[in-house]
Amino acid sequence: MTAPNPVTIDPPVERSLGRRVASWLYSRPRTQLRLLLAWPLGWMTAAYFGSLLILLLGAFWTKDSLTGKVIPFSWSLDAFGNLFGAEVYRTVAFRTIGIAVLVTLTAALLAFPIAYYMARIASPRTRRLLVVAVVMPLWAAYLVKIFAWRTILQGNGVLEWVLSPFGFESSGLVELVNSWLVLTYLWLPYMILPVFAGLERIPNSLLEASADLGGRAGVTFRRVVLPLVFPALVAGSIFTFSLSLGDYIVPDLVSDTKFIGNIIYDNSTLGNVPLAAAYALLPIVVVIGYLLVARRLGAFESL
């Protein structure tokens, strides 16, 4: 009979500072949470929400008539009065929102076929290639893509060359339709990807069941596919809508019309911060409202 193994006692683990802190934290989940959250939340509050607040406060201040300087704490609703007084601000607002909606619809219409093909028809290898192909333009810089469209749409550009045999002349970098075109182009991949992911998630069994129950392709599409992919569509629309709503570079570079962003930018450059801030409230409210609705519709899980 062998002697039983002597009992060995492991040497106590060194109580380093890290370990002591960890033990202390272990029993205090709330403190852990607070420590984790403190940095990102603190950053966001100070850098972002604080700045937003300061900007929006400025909407309620006035400017000196002669020097043009903003007078802090000179509470008044002058800026809002100006906004509601002149027709142009309403026009620009409707124009911008209209284009944002149009871009969203166009992107959805264009994205759906290719996403459907990628999700349900293409072979796995083709699918992988297509995903890369759709993502690649996203990596090309934003300005680069706008610049490319400028060369196409400008006088003596590709568009004019294409239209000239038919006797049309391109109007150059003037029309509102240019903005719609370029914005759709820019955000299209942001719509394709979530819709693709959404379509992928629909199990084949559901579609087969629908067919078994006598539903033809159209009915299956309308009553099974569409409701299931709707949250993904909304997710994609978050990008196309909010990014189009706030953009000012595209209308500035490819057209002669002004969007909400242009008005804000112009007024801020010229020193009319109260008006810029007051006008900025519009897209902020619209986007936050849109996000809340989108969240309710389940879009956040489909991002």
């Binding site: 690649m136 003596n156 990807l193 579609l207």
Partner: protein, 266 residues
């Protein structure tokens, strides 16, 4: 599959058209890079490489490249730290205001860039902070946080807590567990988030114009500034073309790192 032949053909055709639409401007840009015409007239009037030489010798461009790289790295590092902390907090704990915080993190990207830019600029000026690379990094980090956050939280949701509990059972403290178990599991998500954050920072122009000082320019700002100079239009085109070529590299890496970085979930 239950689709009819018409649907299959139609969808395939639309896919080709859409892809063509996506790539057409990029191809035209590539052609223009060799177009000798000063105003980039179409069809190209010849073939030349001298715009590349002009681009290589442009001092403003060199400085802009360096600034863009520094800003991108700085913003990515900050976003990695803040985004991971936020993701761990949201994913691991239940607390009041949890949903609100994840909502708030999206705002810097969703709200118009011009609003963010003006807000940040006003704050910096009021606080007397001089505008420059540091302020650019602060601005970029703010909207890059959510990108890292999204990637990390998606990964954390899939990580089984059991490995961490096992690690604790074996005597590892919180920090050790994080270092040896959690972090390696998150690695590809962090990398994907870092890539996307860097790309966004490298690309951003609106917020950057407001937070850069008079002497600082990033590549997008340089492009924007040069766009109207008649003598620099082809040089801008060359830069744009080179940027597209360079951007192929991250896509390749993103693809290698993992499907979920770019959307494949199956």
């Amino acid at each position: 599959m239950t689709e009819s032949a018409w649907v299959r053909i139609g969808v395939r055709v639309m896919a080709v058209i859409t892809l063509g639409f996506l790539y057409l401007p990029l191809v035209i840009l590539a052609v223009h890079a060799f177009n000798p015409s000063r105003y980039l007239a179409w069809p190209p009037t010849g073939f030349t490489l001298h715009w590349f030489a002009d681009a290589a010798s442009n001092p403003g461009l060199h400085k802009a490249i360096i600034n863009s790289l520094i800003a991108g790295v700085g913003a990515t590092v900050l976003a990695l730290i803040l985004g991971t902390l936020a993701a761990m907090a949201i994913q691991r704990f239940r607390f009041f205001g949890r949903d609100t915080i994840s909502f708030l993190l999206v705002l810097p990207i969703a709200l118009p860039g011009v609003v963010t830019g003006i807000a940040l600029q006003t704050t910096f000026r009021t606080a007397g902070i001089s505008l420059g690379l540091a302020t650019i990094i602060v601005g970029h980090a703010t909207f890059c946080v959510v990108i890292v956050y999204n990637n990390v939280i998606a990964r954390l949701r899939r990580l089984p807590r059991s490995s961490e509990e096992a690690s604790a059972d074996l005597g590892a403290d919180t920090f050790l567990t994080f270092r040896l178990i959690t972090l390696p599991a998150m690695r590809t998500a962090l990398l994907a988030g870092a890539l996307l954050a860097f790309a966004l920072s490298f690309d951003e122009v609106i917020v950057t114009t407001f937070t850069a000082g008079p002497g600082t320019q990033t590549i997008p700002m340089w492009i924007l500034g040069s766009l109207q100079r008649p003598q620099e239009l082809p040089v801008v085109n060359v830069v744009a073309f080179l940027l597209i070529l360079v951007s192929v590299i991250p896509v390749y890496f993103a693809q290698r790192i993992g499907g979920e970085a770019i959307g494949i979930t199956r």
